[in-house]
Amino acid sequence: MHIPDGFLSTPAWVSTWVLSFGGLAYCVRKTKEVLQDKVVPLMGVMAAFIFAAQMLNFPVLGGTSGHLLGGVLAAILLGPYAAAIVLSCVLIVQCIVFQDGGLTALGANIFNMSIIGTMGGYCVYLLMLRIFNNNKKVLIAAGIAAWVSVMCASGLCAVELALSGMSPFKVVLPAMLFVHAFIGIGEAIITMLVISFVLKVRPDLIYNTREAPHE
């Protein structure tokens, strides 16, 4: 759901640029505080993987396609702040190098997918970890959070489109949520597949908030 130039009114794209800039500045500060050595190369790897995975559009119903956002996936491995930075870098390169998503809309795209999609999705993941208390809780929480993150990002996108006068709120919001409910299932499946693979080969790479930051 990379918004192109032209979809957003000036107040909408300017305000989302400001929100994203503030959000990213906060993430940079938090990441500097908590970044562990082992996460440094993993940030590069996740950026490469999410970029590659976002090229793989899968078909969903009725001649529509979707692709991974990867926000929750990145946050489960990197923590929410570093993940938001990685997602933002992917969006910036996609915009500047590959013309995917508009330059004016970059703020909105970063806000929807890397700030809310990633950090909001991570909050859902933490909440689900508390609700489900069995040996599959990481996977279940990852799947639910992944689906919710896509719904949040697409819902926000709909709000921005409505505020920009592209389509009435009560038309564009259900339409965006409906199609992304299906795309979100793809997001959940891919997120769970990758997390179950990581749990098998390197379970220590799952981000743990309780771990001392500077070991």
Binding site: L35, P41, F51, H67, V179
Partner: protein, 99 residues
């Protein structure tokens, strides 16, 4: 992550971006589909503000579209790794100094 693990992970990412990407669905994505149905898609089809070097993940000057997409995928995957690895190292440095 060991060097070997990083290498294997990048190979997996490259496999997705190079080998699988030419087979990705060409259908409009969720937002494009909604924009078509609610007829505001043409608002997004103006001249872009900046001209990207590799528009729409298709490398210019390569005739075969599959090859052009695969090349763009490899190019983007490697840029992403080195760019974000570099940024992550910069973010790590102030902490390292403190001890």
């Amino acid at each position: 992550m060991s060097k070997k693990e990083i290498f294997v992970a990048i190979i997996i990412a490259l496999f997705c971006a190079v080998i699988l990407s030419p087979f990705a669905s060409e259908s409009p994505d969720g937002l494009e589909k909604v924009a078509e149905e609610k007829s505001f898609i043409e608002q997004g089809e103006r001249e872009p503000i900046i001209y990207a070097p590799v528009p729409d993940y298709v490398f210019p000057w390569i005739k075969s579209e599959g090859m052009a997409t695969a090349t763009a995928g490899a190019f983007g995957t490697l840029i992403m790794f080195f760019l974000v690895y570099g940024i992550a190292r910069m973010l790590k440095r102030p902490n390292a100094k403190k001890g």
